[in-house]
Amino acid sequence: MSLLEIKGLRANVGEKEILKGLDLTVDAGEIHAVMGPNGSGKSTLAQVLAGNPAYEVTGGTVHYGGKDLLEMQPEERAQSGMFLAFQYPVEIPGVSNAYFLRAAYNEMRRARGEEEVDPLEFADLMEQKLAQVDMDPAMLQRSVNTGFSGGEKKRNEILQMAVLEPRLAILDETDSGLDIDALRIVADGVNALKRPDNATIVVTHYQRLLNYIVPDFVHVLANGRILKSGGKELALELEERGYDWLTSAPAVAGAGAA
């Protein structure tokens, strides 16, 4: 059984159809890259998988760990080990990062039938996780993402990922707006979490991040469907040739998707 199995997925934002029959299968232990031009539906795919109610699923099926994902509330998906690193992490003034992380961590533990941890135990855990993503402990006392720089926000997403240890992590444009140093820290964080029983989907526009997070599979998403799939060398080809050779020739693209 695959960890994630998407078949013929269609989704709208408002009246506009963004995903138009998307198929994708991810098995445990794999890293998949989903690449594509702006507006191709990459972020929509990520948000739909996480259960954002702003997106309406109009067709297709998604199974996650054998369960019907589309029937699950966003928090149930998270409690079942799904994690979305947001392209635009949300600022929440008034809620400290430490409180937020511990609340999320304890929800996960509760869902697994484990004891909640108290603030002291949690502080020990955080010390190790902070080091892993090279983050200043002072960031824990600040409100969630509030006033963080772009790089700090992305690093905070990876910190959450490190704490929650997901089965399926979806990184939505985690590389955008990062300099190379920050990019490497983020990539190291992701690589350190890789295990045979979990999987990662890296959604990105550029090949750059894939120098550091090496994918097993690369998929090209355009116009709401996967046009082409291949190995990591496909990313290099896309970097070289751009997306036009795939998207501007509908006949070829249609054949590739079929």
Binding site: G51, A54, E75, R77, A78, Q79, P89, G94, A103, A104
Partner: protein, 438 residues
């Protein structure tokens, strides 16, 4: 303005109780004369109607239409342990307890206060501290405010607190007004006076709470005088019974270099109006007026603040936040007057409201009248709902929808609660905010 017909009928329903009161033991002759003058003013003014600009969004007809009985003798039946939920977990505060509007010495603990501090109930002050008692009615404008006139006519009890020059009172003084079932259909007119001497400092907490769900009317007035260089922190906690009516006015007068820090928390009563007024009557004063109101069901909660900048080089800071659910109605009116002489005034006013339902509503009205030309005065008001993006972000981390909403509701109020300097009060109000909208 009130019509003569309404005014006459307003006074008519109170005249019997008033005659009875002045014919009984109701203070020294000077107080009785003030009562008569105040009752005449109330008779002339009547209850305010919504044609009065200051009451445009708040109809007091539920109060005007009710025949309240003046609670004139000790009527309460409250045990000490019943007060525990209202003490914010503090055991070492100086506390005066009033049950159904009357001072209850057996429930009060003020023995640990320095003997230099004068603290008495109003009736004792009339005989034991007449100089202080004579200040009652000199700070508020009872001649032009109906409810304050009504209070001045009917006041029977309250606290007279006098902090002498240079005295630093470390622990809060808690004036705890509690009602029980015996208050049903009754009215009370608590009258407090807080005099803070030169370079002195104190914290006064004024709570209005109930052990019952009785319908009653509290009409409280607190007068505050802050002498040069002194500081008063004043926390007003309005948690009246849900069918009760509450009108409360705090009016301060500040001398040179004094500081007034006010926080108004309002979550109780069916209909409430809270006035917080201060006059910056000397140079170099600062005033901070903050507040949080939590309303749901059919509650109506109105706040009016007024800062009069009468002298140069003063600052005022104001942050009021409201969280409204159900079909509740919130009102905020923030007045700032800057006199021509009050150059270099630095004023900032903010009112933010979070609406948790489609049927709750807020009327917010900043009102700045600036007659000096070298000042910095800003105001801003926002009305919003729970941020759906933030809600989804929390849910995507495994936090269930209800908990996420609570967290965001609390987070909305967090910055104004952070300004509370008494940790026990801050923690208590934080918990009340978290638990209010479940």
């Amino acid at each position: 303005m009130t019509t003569p017909v309404a005014a006459a009928s307003a006074a008519e329903s109170y005249i019997g109780a008033f005659d009875e009161l002045v014919n009984r033991d109701s203070g020294p002759e000077s107080v009785r004369a003030q009562r008569r003058a105040a009752f005449d003013r109330f008779a002339a003014l009547g209850f305010p109607t919504t044609r009065n600009e200051d009451w445009h969004f708040t109809s007091v007809s539920p109060i005007a239409d009710e025949d309240f009985v003046l609670l004139s003798s000790r009527s309460g039946d409250v045990r000490r342990d019943e007060l525990d939920p209202f003490r914010f977990g503090a055991t070492d505060w100086h506390t005066m307890v009033f049950v159904n509007g009357r001072f209850e010495p057996t429930l009060s603990d003020v023995g640990a206060l320095s003997p230099r501090v004068g603290i008495r109930d109003l009736r004792s002050a009339w005989t034991d501290d007449p100089d202080a008692a004579a200040r009652v009615g000199t700070i508020t404008d009872w001649e032009n405010q109906s409810f304050t006139a009504l209070n001045t006519a009917f006041m029977q009890d309250g606290a007279v607190v006098r902090i002498p020059k240079d005295e630093i009172v470390e622990r809060p003084i808690h004036l705890l007004y509690v009602t029980d079932a015996n208050a049903a259909k009754g009215m009370m007119h608590p009258r407090n006076l807080v005099l803070v001497g030169r370079n002195a400092s104190a914290t006064v907490i004024e709570s209005y709470v109930s052990t019952s769900d009785a319908m009653y009317f509290t009409n409280a007035v607190t007068e505050v005088s802050i002498e040069a260089g002194a500081t008063l922190r004043h926390y007003k906690i309005q948690r009246e019974a849900h069918r009760a009516f509450h009108v409360g006015t705090t009016e301060a007068r500040q001398a040179r270099d004094s500081h007034f820090v006010s926080f108004s928390f309002a979550s109780g009563a069916d209909l409430s109006r809270t006035n917080v007024y201060t006059t910056l009557a000397g140079e170099g004063c600062g005033t901070t007026l903050n507040g949080l109101y939590l309303l749901d069901g059919e509650q109506h909660g109105d706040h009016q603040t007024q800062v009069i900048h009468a002298e140069p080089n003063c600052f005022s800071r104001e942050l009021y936040k409201g969280i409204l659910d159900g079909r509740s109605h919130g009102v905020f009116n923030g007045k700032v007057y800057v006199h021509p002489i009050a150059q270099k005034t630095d004023g900032k006013q903010t009112n933010n409201t979070l609406l948790l339902s489609a049927t709750a509503h807020i009327d917010t009205k900043p009102q700045l009248e600036i007659f000096a030309d070298d000042v910095k005065c800003t105001h801003g008001a926002t009305v919003g709902q729970i941020d759906r993006t933030a809600l989804f972000y929390l849910e995507s981390r495994g936090i269930n929808a209800a908990q996420a909403r609570r967290l965001l509701t609390y987070a909305f109020a967090a910055d104004v609660l952070e300004t509370i300097e008494v940790a026990a009060v801050k923690d208590g109000l934080e918990s009340m905010t978290l638990e209010r909208f479940v």
